[in-house]
Amino acid sequence: MPSIIKLHAISGAQDESPPCYLLQVDEFRFLLDCGWDEKFNPNFIKELKRYAGQIDAVLLSFPDQQHLGALPYMVGKCGLSCPIYATIPVYKMGQMFMYDLYQSRTNMEEFDIFSLDDVDAAFDKIIQLKYNQTITLKGKGYGLTITPLPAGHMIGGTMWKVVKMGEEDIVYAIDFNHKKERHLNGCDLEKLARPSLLITDAANCMNEQERRRVRDEKLMTNILQTLRKGGNVLIAVDTAGRVLEISHMLDQLWRNKESGLMAYSVVLLNNVSYNVVEFAKSQIEWMSDKLMKTFEGARNNPFQFKHIQLCHSISELNKVPSPKVVLASSPDMESGFSRDLFVQWCSNPLNSIIVTRRTTPGTLARILIEKETSPFTIPLEVKKRVPLEGAELDAYLRSEKGKSLSNIKRYLKDFFYKIASYPNKFFISEEYSSDESDNEMEQVALGKHDLVVKQEVKTKTGFFKSNKKQFPMYPFYEEKIKYDEYGEIVRPEDYKMTDLTLEAEEEVVNKENVQVKEEEMPAVDINEVPTKCVTTVRNLHVAAMIRFIDFEGRSDGSSLNKIVAQLKPHRLLIVKGNPESIQFMANYCRKSTDAKVLTPKTGDVVDATTETHIYQVKLTDALLSSLEFKKIKDAEIAWLDSKLAQKEVDEVIYSEDVTMSESVLGAEIPTLEPVKDLSLSHHATFINKLRLSDFMVVVKKAGYHCEFSGGILQCCNGTIALRKLESGTVTMEGCISPEYYQIRDLLYSQYAIV
């Protein structure tokens, strides 16, 4: 009895919403990815919430919001508590994605869908895996193993293989990339041949990609043109996935002395850019063979950037001289610095804005892709956080004072209570107060220090001790005056006006007709300055050049179809992608394979159970030694006539019983014995698929003359002809001659005949 396999598409089926599927194998429920769209659509999450308690394991494919965005919410707010499986880079980079997303959202609005604690809680549940590491599930999932396989696209990207012991192998592979890239290897399709169920997407099915070189040149010329005109380039990228590919490429470009780019700056801007690059540096073993080789050979860490500067805020960015290229998150431009910069830069026709991936319809990036010809005007909701001023500030301070007073009271109460409970260890209070020091208000209230002690910042990066001076008392740094042939070096910071951001902003604002719709949302910000969030709707005039250059790094249409056809799944389940592309792929696969194709809609539950019959038998040595094995490719085959041995225990183990226990399993497998009955006979079977061109090589090697003419292989001066019919049948014709039999022997040697 085969297992029951069902897939419930909670999101991401027949449209471009983020993937989120519930896969049920018998009693065990996997959640395949847990994505959330850029706008945090609450509808499907409601549906998903209902299953939170039933999910037994979550499998994550990629670290971006599309694939794990809903995880912090599910764990933090809905009580999802099962183990989550992901590769190490997905774990590390996923955290970066979520931190950046949270920070970007907080920078522009009151964001309470999830908190940083939720992110940490969610990622604590992740079990970190390596590629090709097989995990055997226990308990309810007995008999199931899961294996992550490399999928390309993003670092750590995974195709999941779920195997039900001895029978079903389910492959979940979406958004993979079969092509080798600069920093990643392509996906590993070898291990996937003939899965019983393949779950894949058709999102890219109708898109054709340009050749890599053409695409890279396009980006390069675009950047060069804009920079030479004096404009800035904004490249909207993700936080820690595809950005690695683009940043690595740009850094290499900048290193090339002939590129003429050395004079300009290139910046990686997101809230966690430093950490992303650090993590990337320590994950070389997950990257492409080429990068690994250069690292092993020359110890060049590819992510030790020479030219790319890392920035974490707009004000840091403003210190970088223009013209510049900025890689900013997020790719959808719904939030993050890419949106801020878009608002700032779009009106200047000298600038150019490059979108690198097709995001969900309705997002700013997608709107830009669809328009592509500037100039045009779009209404845009601009949200930002501004410091409180005037009356608002007073009101805020008053309410805070009340709060802090009560805080102090509470604190003092705790404090004395603590002292009372440790009468002998009074000194502990010092430690204690430093423990609590995260609360700023309390510290000020107590007046612990009025002396500011500056922490000595360690900025050394070298391996060994530098001859640094020791300061016995007060730190005194004598600044060396640096100079070049023109005299003392001018430090631009000294002459820079502060608050450049605000000014730049105001300029823009003044030019346009603005309808301000203020929402009073005062709150404590991380900057410790009371702020509020303001939402305005502005009609932005977009004059900058807009370009879409495909850096998605996913397999494109034609290859996608070929790959799926080549994998030859018994069942194919297509999720994600617009209905036309799904239809296109489904038709293609129906034509070229014998697979049963299923195309569920969002919310559908489809049954993908395969009615495979299967049982296990033991083979005796006597039986095996009586067989004549014939080699074919990497396997050997033989015809087997055998008898099931008599056994006292007549009970037969079907594979459904595999779930029970191993001891039962070992004991009752029926044994096959050889039969000596000569009356058993069978038709000979020719196994292999012959290609005439291959055969020609064989014939030539054996010393016979042969040539192709009109699809027919002519041998021995045309006395023997071989052709292949549509049906795959090979016909051999010829006059009777010794060569006929010799060629025939050669032909037979191409087959395993049993």
Partner: protein
């Protein structure tokens, strides 16, 4: 699980149950680790090191005893010379064409460590095994494997666990046809400052090949060891001496640096005493240490996010002896660890005659090296130049080498419960002691049937594993549940020790194989008339089907067409059909050779002449049993024969003979009747094939 059975000599290697484990190096010795595994026709080499105490070809393991080109797989456990030192030689200078794996960190350090080794040993010996260029090109042949990642090379499955010995050190679990072998390499179950303790595999191996460097020795606690070390260093420098610590450039050195750096930062009074680390190699490999933090322990993983623990505050790099100002107390860490040659040797020779100085041996030393020799505190030593110099400096030995000790090994074995243990990588005496101790430890438990082996170099341990072979029956064949006595016929597909039994029709569904068809069409000249051909064929093959004009089907599978004096035979190829075709071909050639073609053909009987048969039968029976044994006249299909008063009934319709009295007679008559029938009846072909 393993029982001794006789191996059938006829069995091919891959079906044999014999697992042989043969140390080509590191058998009852330390150094040149190299162990051969052979099972089911697969040959695997574990490590390929050199002996640090020997040089040139002598340092190699006994690889001349195996055929390098037959080895399928070579696994390297870690980057120490005694585990990978011979690898460039083996990859470049032998006919080896299998695949070679190591972990990422190992590969990155291997490159630099061996290049350093080439440079260092160039001074000592002329007969180099390989050059920098060989090393460089060997890099392309080495593949990498991540910890826990499963690889499959021609049916051999293997994966790596963290071994804790040095960065990137791995233990390999190898599975061949269900038999699991764990090779520990060098391992340590003690977590230290930067490495995690060796992992305990969650599967039980059938054979454990473990190191036994420290035999029954028990390490002192980490804290004690560290404080002994630091106070020793302290006392040497405070008495105004120079402290030499010979170390392997990579591995334990990083651990010692972490300890010394921390100790110095806690003791400001020592800040005037410089610590030098004389290794350009370590500097080169720092990037590797900074990159592969995922292979280190959690402490480092967490710390690295804040600041890099491998950025030392009190330790300076020393480029070489030329850059060294030998003016006063100092601490110098220098490679190589056993002072065979190089900087550590030079410094030792220039310092050894001053009693204020001290040397601390911090790692394991192999027999035959200077480090091992001075541990016995000789009066004088011989320098590399050949002079005798008195040894006055203090010599201390504090083991920092991260090798398992007796306690760790014992606990490791207790958890894994392997039925077979093979000890390697240990001096003969240590190994024997460990073996005895382990046997004593585990003999208390009567259920435990653990076997421990300590083979010498080139001596194989032979184990028998009766691997149970199971096949999966799938598809049409499996529709009916298995019942004893049922006959199963189908195609058995064997791939990587997995068997699959399928109906030919299902082959395409469950495997990537394709069933094909070959059609043959042979033609030849034929001059004669068709009726002659037909006559001869009928005589040969019985009734011939006439499909259409001038097209005949013979044996139900061979189609013969005669057009314009040309006979064409067409059939679907199969061994049986080919044979029929050859027969038909012979008949055609025979017909061709008939010179005098008769005008009319005698009609060949296609039906049996029953009357004729009956007459013949009577005659035959009379010949056999005498005139009187059969009645003179009979009608219908019933006949009886009487022999010695016993009567046998013959049913001519069904060709059945029945004689209740004498079974022998029944058989004799039956045989006679059927044979006669067969010889008189026209040829009949079983066309089911």
């Amino acid at each position: 699980m393993a029982t001794k059975v006789k191996v059938e000599s006829t069995l091919p290697a891959e079906e044999s149950d014999l697992l042989s484990i043969r140390p080509l190096g590191a058998g009852q010795e330390v150094g040149r680790s190299c162990i051969m595994l052979e099972f089911k026709g697969k040959k695997i080499m574990l490590d390929c090191g050199i002996h640090p105490g020997l040089s040139g070809m002598d340092a190699l393991p006994f690889v001349d005893l195996v055929e390098a080109d037959e080895i399928d797989l070579l696994l390297i456990s870690h980057f120490h010379l005694d585990h990978c030192g011979a690898l460039p030689w083996f990859l470049q200078k032998t006919s080896f064409k299998g695949r070679c794996f190591m972990t990422h960190a190992t590969k990155a350090i291997y490159r630099w460590l061996l290049s350093d080794y080439i440079k260092v040993s160039n001074i000592a010996t002329e007969q180099m095994l390989y050059t920098e260029a060989d090393l460089e090109s060997s890099m392309d042949k080495i593949e990498t494997i991540n910890f826990h990642e499963e690889k499959d090379v021609m049916g051999v499955k293997f994966w790596a666990y963290n071994a804790g010995h040095v960065l990137g050190a791995a233990m390999f679990m190898i599975e061949i046809a269900g038999v699991k072998i764990l090779y520990t390499g060098d391992f340590s179950r003690q977590e230290d400052r930067h490495l995690m303790a060796a992992e305990i595999p969650n599967v039980h191996p059938d054979v454990l090949i473990t190191e036994s460097t420290y035999g029954t020795h028990v390490h002192e606690k980490r804290e004690e060891r560290e404080s002994r070390f630091t106070s020793l260093v302290n006392s040497i420098v405070t008495r105004g001496g120079r402290c030499l610590i010979p170390v392997f450039a990579l591995g334990r050195a990083q651990e010692l640096l972490l300890i010394l750096d921390e100790y110095w930062s806690q003791h400001p009074e020592l800040h005037d005493v410089p610590i030098y680390y004389a290794s350009s190699l370590a500097k080169k490999c720092m990037a590797v240490y900074q990159t592969y933090v995922n292979a280190m322990n959690d402490k480092i993983k967490n710390q690295i996010a804040v600041s890099n623990p491998f950025v030392f505050k009190h330790i300076s790099n020393l480029k070489g002896i030329d850059h060294f100002e030998d003016v006063g107390p100092c601490v110098v860490m220098a490679s190589p660890g056993m002072m065979q040659s190089g900087l550590s040797r030079e410094l030792f020779e220039s310092w050894c005659s001053d009693h204020k100085n001290g040397v601390i041996i911090a790692g394991y030393c192999v027999e035959g090296t200077l480090a091992k020799m001075i541990l016995s505190e000789p009066e004088e030593i011989t320098t590399m130049a050949g002079q005798k110099v008195p040894l006055k400096m203090s010599v201390d030995y504090i083991s920092f080498s991260a090798h398992t000790d007796y306690q760790q090994t014992r606990d490791f074995i207790k958890i894994l419960k392997p039925p077979h243990i093979v000890l390697v990588h240990g001096e003969q005496n240590e190994m024997n002691r460990l073996k005895t101790a382990l046997i004593r430890e585990f003999e208390v438990d009567p259920k435990n049937k653990m076997q421990i082996y300590n083979p010498r170099n080139t001596v194989a341990v032979e184990l028998y594993f009766r691997g149970e072979k199971t096949a999966k029956v799938m598809g049409t064949l499996a529709v009916e549940p298995p019942k004893p006595g049922n006959i199963l016929s189908g195609i058995l597909v064997k791939r990587n020790f997995n068997y699959l039994l399928l109906d030919p029709g299902d082959l395409g569904r469950y495997s990537d194989m394709v069933i094909s068809q070959v059609v043959q069409r042979q033609s030849m000249h034929y001059n004669g008339p068709i009726n002659l051909l037909q006559h001869i064929l009928t005589q040969l093959a019985g009734p011939v089907e006439s499909l259409e004009d001038k097209k005949l089907r013979i044996f139900g599978c061979i189609d013969l067409t005669l057009v314009d004096k040309c006979v064409t035979l067409e059939w679907i190829a199969s061994p049986v059909n080919d044979m029929y075709a050859d027969t038909v071909l012979a008949a055609v050639l025979q017909a061709e050779s008939v010179e005098d073609v008769p005008k009319s053909m005698p009609s060949t009987p296609t039906k049996m002449d029953r009357m004729h048969f009956k007459e013949c039968l009577m005659e035959m029976l009379q010949d056999m049993f005498g005139e009187d044994s059969v009645p003179k006249i009979f009608k219908g299909d019933k006949l009886h024969v009487t022999v010695d008063g016993k009567k046998a009934d013959i049913d001519l319709e069904h060709m059945v003979v029945l004689c209740e009295e004498d079974e022998l007679l029944q058989q004799v008559v039956q045989t006679a009747v059927s044979k006669l029938y067969n010889s008189l009846s026209p040829p009949k072909v079983d066309t089911s094939l």
